[in-house]
Subunit: 270 residues, 4 copies
């Protein structure tokens, strides 16, 4: 019967089809979101000083909750060791580790380390990743584009190094372009059309050169968009006939179909 | 004969094919646009103080006009109750309600509420929505992309939370990154290439990390563009006569489809 | 023989295939570009005060040149009246008119009018438009998208009116959002990812709302890109077999072909 | 046997298939990257003053290394003269030239020239270009789009000239729009959605006009994206075995094509 209980735990924790399994997932998503909000709130000076006690309580509440969840997952998993070493297992561990490290570090003495450990708790937002179910199509399109985008980024880096160096010569340290790395940073800010305006060309020559970069940037920003669009288009237009309805056996569903066109049943499990 | 008059009103108000029906639509569009301009103008301090009387007069003129329109619509509609509860019925009510609420609130005492009510009148711009006739193709492309774009936004939110936290550690409160939420705000401003420049990295490490975010942003901004382009391409290239879902606009249903493969709604109406 | 000379003028001025016709075009393009540069240079305070005489001389040189060109065009045109009323005829007239108006206006008394007339001379840059030969494919793609883009812009305007009004309520006049029109301006600056930073949200609520707008903007900016891409794709993938080589009669050239795949002859004239 | 050694050198230097050839490439890439980092670091005031000796040593180390590499390449090349005049040969020479020029120029007297020569050393980053192996598809898509993008840039330049001039009239010198060229610069900054904010419209009329430019910019930024996407789509979906032009990368030639339909080059080599 203990086995039975363990089996049920495993089903509730690791699956997400039946109503009790979905309820567990939803409760966990809420808990993760709340704990992330607590970390965000705690980093605000005024909130921290006013609600120190409440935040500490909530923080430890969530830490204990996630620790229990982690222990149950190890206990209930079919192959505990495989779970611990899996991507999700590591994230689940990282979600609770910083809070315990917090206890070990005397905050007053190693302030920077203390701050890093506190902020690291935000990484528990990654626990949400496992609930992004249908990211497959997007991910496969990005993965298929990865090589081309890598080449593209390499080419952009070469370009901004040269553009930044030329701008360093044109504007010089007096106009805020104090070093080549800073000019390269400016070139990236400009080429990606972010344009903070913390550094901007002051001389007519610099503004002319910046104009050329911006208009060139038009053509360059089009490249990754083109790459991803073409890959997404390929993934989307893959020939139909793959997805078969479990319920009525109908074939020929378009890629990405969620419901059977014949009987209306969910195709999610495929 | 009264019935005949009511029937004619209904035709003029609810249809837009014949010349008198079109004339009514055009006059109403002009009235809506003018009333929106009045609200915009009234919010400008100098205009408000100088033309207070004129603006009040115009405001009440439009309110009475839209009230009459609303009453006629209810009276002329085939099923008045259905119209009142419909999307356009609610908008038509919301377009006149704030002006009447205005009378009830003593402006001097509840200033914030007063201001909210005044500004709410701008929502009568939504009355224009019913005249965007051919938005169907665009809307169906966006609707078909909604699920993918939702996943995309969720992934972006996870990403900016982590990027913002790392930046909070690198730059710290002294350089304007006073809390994690503010750093996350900065990360969103940077990743979407808006780049206000109200907060910008000051340290070399911060500028290096910001550069990485910006170049990564290149690839990320390409994703929604790719999604929408592929969906628009599908919608545009679907041969005429194929079955389109009334509910979500999904096309490409195989012949004889009974349920929508995208949202599961019945296709029987076709 | 005069007829013969007039015929030759017409050929040189209005055609652009033979070497002497091309030479005329190139000389005119250079003259237009130089005259535009003169107008640009004259608007710079320091240049104007130093080279006043030179700029005036150049200005009148170009005006007389373009006047002669305009008169010859009228004289040489097959149907002078048709040319005068054509798009290019009007632009050619507008290119010389401001300089003559300049003489009539006493600069000291009507300064604003004087300035407008001076700046209007920049419109002679439009004389260059007739030399953008192959813009057809681009223009036809944009024209085919015009209706959809119009609806899109209308929807964006409705959206920014509402977003701006909400932001006006959230931030209020104290944080730079002094009126609804100014807030709408801010919403446009943000949604289009321009992000000057002259107005930016100061309160946490405002920054949260701005974040939502920016991430929504991601999806919205994708729409016109998708529309134009789909239209360009249609134009580009139009079935071959239309373009026939004058030289060897080969068919089946892809759309946009410039040279015959069989004999290498130019297909430009088609 | 010397011939044998030369042959082996040539193989290691110019090929990159076997493991020793790849090792040479990787070592060279690391050396190039490090030497670029040295130039970047040297441009930072504080680093330059502190590590002057170390940087000078590293700089000369890399210069001697690249000089040896250049000499070996000339010696080992099958046709030395062809290598010297090739694109990569010129880049390899440019990578070492500035360091030697540095010796000839008395830094104290010709400061600007001295600075230019120092910064020119950054161009050795171009030595990396030959290692971007699979850039062909991207380059051919860009090459095939070059003509259309050229027309697009020309049209944008005409547009910003006119927009800038109108804005110069609306805002005037008092609001930072001191000359037409500066207004044109502002128009480019706005239309490309960079938006530094160093110059921004101050008057209501100017902000209205800027809003129109920004929303128009939406449609305009879509054009190059559309062009590149369509070309990438063509390149990607061309069935293998079709004839590709060596000169411009154009595909989709009909069977038996002898000349490229895009650039007119002979296709005989295939």
């Amino acid at each position: 019967m203990a086995e039975n209980f363990r089996h049920r735990c495993r089903r509730i924790i690791f699956d997400s089809n039946k109503s009790d399994e979905k309820l567990f997932d939803i409760l966990l998503i809420i808990a993760i979101s709340l704990s992330v909000i607590v970390v965000l709130a705690e980093s605000i000076e005024s909130v921290r000083s006013q609600y120190a006690g409440l935040l500490l309580g909530l923080e430890w509440g969530f830490t204990i909750l996630f620790t229990i969840e982690y222990i149950i997952r190890i206990w209930a998993a079919e192959k505990p060791w495989k779970y611990i070493r899996s991507f999700y297992g590591i994230i689940d561990l990282l979600a609770i580790l910083p809070s315990y490290l917090d206890l070990l570090i005397p905050g007053a003495r190693y302030l920077m380390l203390f701050r890093i450990v506190r902020v690291l708790r935000i990484f528990r937002v990654l626990k949400l990743v496992k609930y992004i179910g249908d990211a497959n199509i997007l991910l496969s399109a990005i993965a298929a584009s990865a090589r081309k985008i890598g080449i593209f980024i390499f080419a952009v880096l070469t370009l901004v190094t040269i553009l930044g160096s030329v701008m360093y010569l044109i504007e010089g340290p007096d106009n805020g372009f104090t070093s080549i790395p800073k000019s390269v940073y400016w070139a990236i800010v400009t080429l990606t059309t972010v344009g903070y305006g913390d550094i901007s060309p002051q001389t007519p020559m610099g503004q002319l050169f910046a104009s050329i970069i911006m208009i060139t940037g038009y053509g360059i920003i089009a490249v990754p968009t083109g790459i991803v669009t073409v890959e997404l288009s390929k993934v989307s237009s893959a020939p139909p006939g793959k997805i078969v309805c479990d319920n009525c056996g109908a074939k020929n569903h378009p890629r990405g179909a969620i419901f059977c066109y014949n009987c209306g049943a969910s195709l999610e499990n495929d």
